[in-house]
């Protein structure tokens, strides 16, 4: 089966799915709970480094490492999110940006994260002694993605989703209805962060080598623009936004289109996304899939 699929395409799809998971987590924080985050890559990195440390440096089973990484990311997101969420909403973009920068510089300088070298030799997980192939890993990532889409869908319709909606629309009202707003904001941060932790762990075991460059501000900003352009607070929006904007530069690479210098593709990418954001804000502020009237839940009439 492996033979007739170009492994390069396979990788692109795996990375696309991982980016969608990242986008879903960010959308949970920013789209569903209304808390702007410019530091999402930090949690991606925490997930990736945690599983790398557990599986390489401590020698734990990769599956167990991934599980621990997700739990750690959940907890750290809550702890790191708490001070940011206490400040006034206008500062949240700045504090999360700072958080992202601090996290990246920690990855780059700390001993435990392998400093500037990063961590190498992150093992591929196995099932019954059989190491997953590329196709099997793609399948794994796909299943995880489906599960997380389902989780986000359920959460958005739960008591948590109701609290997030109220917080996003009017915090005073939310509090007046008995909603502990800080608690639910921290919870959004923690769950959204845990999504990024899953993505980071899946990424680490896919590439087997990680370094701090991956987990920087460029990624956080790119993700935010993907989610905003797709439409905040909708799952379809994130699927669309991340897919289109992630695949666009790849198309240029695959077809070897030379209109732009491939060395500057990241720069052009940022300019394009920035431009798209401005256009969206002007003409479709709720994103491609944003709807005007939103129903938390279809009304039941009887």
């Amino acid at each position: 089966m492996e033979g007739w699929i170009n492994p390069y395409y396979l990788d692109i799809i795996v990375f696309l799915f991982i980016n969608i998971i990242l986008g879903l987590g960010l959308n949970l924080i920013t789209g569903y709970a209304g808390q702007v985050s410019l530091g999402h890559a930090a949690f991606y990195g925490i997930g990736a480094y945690s599983t790398a440390i557990f599986s390489v440096k401590i020698g734990l089973n990769p599956w167990l490492s991934i599980l621990l990484a997700v739990i750690i990311t959940f907890l750290l997101s809550a702890i790191l999110g708490l001070p940011s969420l206490r400040v006034r909403e206008d500062f949240l973009a700045i504090t999360t940006l700072g958080l992202g920068l601090i996290a990246q510089s920690f990855f780059k300088n700390a001993k435990i994260t392998g400093g500037a070298y990063g961590i190498d030799g992150i093992p591929m997980p196995s099932i019954f002694g059989h190491e997953l192939t590329d196709v099997e890993y793609l399948l794994l990532v796909f299943i995880v993605l489906l599960v997380l889409i389902y989780v986000l869908h359920r959460l958005s319709r739960s008591k948590l989703g109701q609290a997030w909606t109220a917080i996003q629309e009017d915090e005073v009202v939310a509090q007046s209805m008995g909603i502990n707003t800080l608690y639910y904001k921290v919870l959004a941060f923690a769950i959204g962060g845990a999504f990024a932790g899953v993505a980071g762990a899946l990424f680490a075991h896919k590439v087997s080598f990680i370094s701090s460059d991956t987990f920087g501000f460029t990624l956080s900003a790119t993700l935010l623009s993907m989610v905003v352009i797709g439409g905040l607070g909708t799952i379809r929006g994130t699927l669309f936004g991340v897919s289109v904007l992630y695949l666009l530069p790849e198309v240029f690479r695959i077809f070897d289109i030379k209109i732009i210098d491939p060395n500057y593709i990241d720069t052009y990418k940022m300019i394009l996304y920035g431009l798209l954001m401005v256009i969206m804000m002007r003409y479709r502020p709720k994103g491609v899939f944003g709807r005007k009237i939103r129903h938390q839940k279809r009304a039941v009439k009887d």
Partner: protein, 261 residues
């Protein structure tokens, strides 16, 4: 009857301005209390203190035997005090039904896990929330508007939806900030009837209102604030005949004219 709410020496300053000044208030269970006073008298500030949005600079609040001074707004709501806002605060892009369901938030328990796995408890709860919200809509004659975006409703209906949201969880006490503002006389009539119904269900009511005719007819007792100071407290007919109260209102109007508000 027992005192449900007991406030002592409540004071709130904004810089040099004392918006609420040493106010004492006792509210009995089952009462309909009117809170009146000229513009800027401190009525809304008083509600904001009672609901925890502002912390009083001085004073103490006892509710149902609990000291709730310094409680956060959500904690106060969970004690059973709900409110409406002078400048209506509905989730405008969401349906009327969603807005009312929000009022039942404190009564639902199903958390993340039981929602993710679609456990029976969370399904049953969802059903109960929908039924209770729907029942209240029926009672208020708003069923036709259930799926409308709240922001598209007429002013009067928005006020009713906001009251419904505050009411749906059967709170101990409900605070209404100028609920009749912008209503015609017919709507005011039906609002009065609704407030009486609210009391019937066992909820104590404090009502801020400029419509003096309405409050005199509706309330068991009136309290008057002027420049943050409580200047009268008693039987509605006697309070509105009180020279100090009349003076406060006329004086207030003069100030309004001079300021050209």
């Amino acid at each position: 009857m027992d005192a449900l709410l007991e406030m002592k020496g409540i004071t709130k300053r904004f810089g040099g301005l004392t918006a609420v000044d040493q106010v004492d208030l006792i509210v009995k269970k089952g009462e309909i209390l009117g809170l009146i006073g000229p513009n800027g008298a401190g009525k809304t500030t008083f509600f904001n203190i009672l609901t925890g949005i502002y912390r009083p600079d001085q004073g103490n609040i006892q509710f149902n035997g609990t000291d709730i001074t310094g409680f956060k707004p959500y904690q106060i709501a969970n004690q059973g005090i709900f409110r409406t806002f002078q400048n209506i605060r509905l989730l405008k892009d969401y349906s009327v039904l969603d807005n009312i369901k929000l009022g039942l938030f404190r009564q639902t328990k199903a958390g993340a896990w039981s929602s993710i796995f679609g456990l029976r408890r969370s399904r049953e709860e969802e059903k109960k929330v929908a039924e209770e919200s729907w029942a209240l809509l029926e009672r208020l004659g708003l069923t036709d508007l259930a799926n409308e975006a709240a922001g598209n409703l007429s002013y009067g209906n928005q006020r009713r939806v906001e009251i419904a949201r505050a009411l749906v969880s059967h709170p101990e006490m409900i605070l209404l900030d100028e609920p009749a503002a912008g209503m015609n006389s017919e709507e005011v009539e039906s609002l009065s009837a609704l407030v009486r119904q609210i009391r019937q269900q066992g909820t104590t009511v404090i009502l801020i209102e400029h419509n003096v005719g309405m409050v005199v007819e509706l309330c068991d007792r009136l309290v008057v604030l002027d420049h943050g100071v409580k200047i009268a407290d008693g039987d509605p007919n006697q309070v509105v005949a009180n020279p100090a109260v009349i003076e406060a209102y006329i004086g207030g109007q003069e100030v309004t004219e001079v300021v050209g508000d």
